[in-house]
Subunit: 237 residues, 2 copies
């Protein structure tokens, strides 16, 4: 039997970013299409993102030293450009394209939802993205974070416990006073194993509208919400 407070809440809301807060698929596809009009932007975006977990695993296994996501994105990009037979981009164009991940748009509910949630909670990011990337993205998109936390602060990528527990430690609070907000059940499960509360957010179009993803609830989460406005309703904000 799981004991859980009747009205789940927490002082700190920590947000996953790629997929949960911003729409990486359409943002990256759009930028790829602009700079490489003959390429299938949808397929390129999916391939770029698919390289992300294996690249982080190479860092976390110790095979590669500590590396920021900007640099992992660039390594994956260089591989894809070769694979797609695209040799024509200049170094400046590659650097610009690589920072497409800094220029992703938030989902339509995000700014209004965060603004409401911020009234009663401290809002931070908890992303594998680096601090500069997250700050540029927030400034461009008007995301009102109280604090930007990243794998870069903890020198470990999610799902390492050091990241989830690191948020609690930063705020000198017990883990149950931190609630992870994410659109990925594996991220949430890892956070729960560290004693955090968890909220699942439905983002059925994370991989594009043509490829809807399963957004079924998992009863293990403290809360399940369609989007951040629904979460604000549930938390009474």
């Amino acid at each position: 039997m799981t004991l859980r407070p009747p009205h789940p809440s927490a002082q700190i809301l920590a947000f996953d970013i790629f997929g949960t807060v911003v729409d990486w698929h359409s943002g990256v596809a759009r930028e790829v299409q602009t700079i490489l009009p003959d390429v299938d932007g949808d397929a390129f975006a999916l391939a770029w993102r698919a390289g992300y977990q294996p690249a982080m695993r190479r860092v976390m296994s110790g095979e590669v030293g500590w590396t920021l996501i900007d640099d992992l994105h660039r390594m994956i990009l260089d591989g894809l450009l070769a694979q797609f037979g695209l040799g024509g981009l200049s170094e400046t164009q590659k650097q610009h394209l690589n920072k497409a991940w800094h220029r992703l748009d938030p989902w339509p509910d995000v700014v209004a939802g965060l603004t409401r949630l911020k009234q009663k909670h401290t809002l931070c990011t908890l992303s594998n993205g680096n601090i500069g990337l997250l700050t540029n993205m927030a400034k461009r998109g008007g995301l009102p974070w109280d604090c930007i936390l990243s794998a870069e602060v903890f020198r470990a990528y999610k799902p390492a416990p050091a990241t989830y527990l690191g948020v609690a430690k930063v705020f000198d609070l017990p883990p149950e006073q931190v609630m992870l907000v994410a659109a990925h059940q594996d991220d949430l499960a890892a956070a729960r194993a560290c004693g955090l509360q968890t909220v699942y957010i439905e983002r059925p179009n994370e991989f594009g509208a043509a490829r809807p993803k399963d957004v079924s609830p998992d009863a293990a989460n403290s809360l399940h919400a369609k989007d951040l406005l629904a979460l604000a309703d549930q938390l009474g904000c």
Copy 2:
């Protein structure tokens, strides 16, 4: 001959906090006086702050392992309570008093000044204070940072070059695109030695109105401003 652009500016403005952005002296004195009415709050605040540099030096010399400012503040507080002959506080009261440093008020120009500066620049903290302290302070005081950077991120205290250069590295920019804003010439000199631009802000009452401090300009700084509103004027914000 120093070569400097005719209109100094920078993409990133990095702010020192204690003394520059918030009034630690009157904030700490007030909280001490509230919890310990028989104590001279002014003297206690000055003594607490005076313990800060020696405590950080012990960390930076390697004599003590990496320690957050919250914990250094507590070590200094415990020493002062013994020295002032104050044995009567409970553990809860001591913890609360120690977090007086999270509850400091900004100087009157700060919120309006930062709001203007934020239109054209990315604003971050660069303080020896820990991330949780700086976040709580910002939330309470309405300080609109784009990003909270701290000694805690770089695992080094100012004036270590790793802190000033760390800001440039976070944003993937050359050091001259970062401008340190501070009310302390030694902090600014250390930042300049790393290639940052620098602004001196006058805070004559940092140590209390009864103890005005020298706020003379140093021509080595890129800019000198009475307060953050004057800085916004100078930067055309």
